[in-house]
Symmetry: C2
């Protein structure tokens, strides 16, 4: 979090600036600032997030989820075991560190327990994002949203997966194991993980969600 609050700000981003930025870094472009065409390509390649607005203060910028997800916490109830296993092995094969927080057996467990475990790991910064699974995904999303700092979204297709990040900065994805098949779930996770949150006006709305947590 310390690194993010000293986010680099630019009036202009050139190709050589872009090359100096870290992969997945988020930077701010001041109002009226610009990006050279060559720099734009490099920024895209390096998955750099450019927030083209200087009206956000650092604490607001911190609300946007990390643009690049390298550590995922995952959890499911007994109904989501097979989907959890499939997602875990797919993510690991792509080099993502996955922390499987259970459940680990077919014995019935309560979705609020498994969802809260994942949500708390994300809230503590132990993972960049979380995935929770139960029969319909609805209960796990409700439970995860009870944890301060968590924005959990049930996604059932690629559109909701994209919206959940772009508009709502969802840092926990909830899936319904009985409602989507494994192949679709893999695609949903992929889109959700690779969609950044860029719009300052959407990020600003997250401050109002944070205020509800405190109120």
């Amino acid at each position: 979090m310390g690194a993010k609050s000293s986010m680099k700000q630019f009036e202009i981003i050139t190709e050589s600036d872009a090359r100096m930025l870290e992969i997945g870094e988020t930077v701010a472009l001041r109002r009226g600032g610009h990006i050279t065409p060559l720099a734009a390509d490099t920024l895209r390649e390096r998955r750099v997030t450019v927030l083209a607005d200087d009206r956000l203060d650092p604490s607001q910028l911190n609300l946007a989820p990390p643009a690049v997800i390298t550590r995922v916490a995952i959890g499911s109830d007994h109904g989501g075991l097979a989907l959890k296993a499939a997602l875990t092995s797919s993510l690991r094969s792509k080099g993502i560190a996955v922390d499987d927080l259970g459940t680990l057996s077919a014995e019935p467990v309560d979705y609020p327990d498994t969802a809260a475990r994942v949500a708390k790991a994300v809230a503590r910064g132990e993972a960049d994002a979380g995935i929770v699974i139960d029969g319909a995904g609805i209960g796990s999303a409700i439970a995860a949203n009870k944890i301060d700092g968590i924005r959990a979204a049930v996604c059932h297709d690629l559109t909701t997966a994209r919206y959940a990040r772009q508009h709502n900065g969802a840092n926990v994805l909830s899936l319904g194991a009985t409602l989507i098949d494994q192949a679709d779930a893999l695609k949903i996770v992929d889109v959700w993980m690779s969609t950044p949150m860029l719009e300052p006006r959407y990020i600003r709305r997250l401050t109002k969600i944070r205020d509800l947590e405190q109120g």
Copy 2:
């Protein structure tokens, strides 16, 4: 809430018992108790909810949402105005009291504000249930879930509408105005409102969500 915590408990429910119960009332049937066949028809007609388990204490039973919804609070952001108007007039034509908590104009507003207004009205008991609307429904559900006592679910079809009540006792329904059409939204609201929460093991899980709210 006082009335509910003195919920009637039965060893046996006869036809004449059933006739004495109020429409939409929830009663408990002790373990090993039974319902006569004639009483069963009358209970169904009167939309009486029978919780067939005596292992739930009154504070747990209070977590289940009212089986019959007569007062609804509704709210949307600017993107949900048309859908809000359609739902409001449909519900009112069915004799449901609808409290429209805005927004009332096309000027952009922030979904956390409109969703929180509805969620707080439901949490204070001013409505039996709430409906929140924005472009995808995701953000409003996240915001509403930040309010203690609220379980908000995005429903995009009849299956999720039914699950949201049956399994999760959702007292706030969230709809995505850009993702479902009006006719489908009307059906979703209808199924969501008319599905009771009956399973003691599902109700018991709501106590774990309540515990997450408390910290």
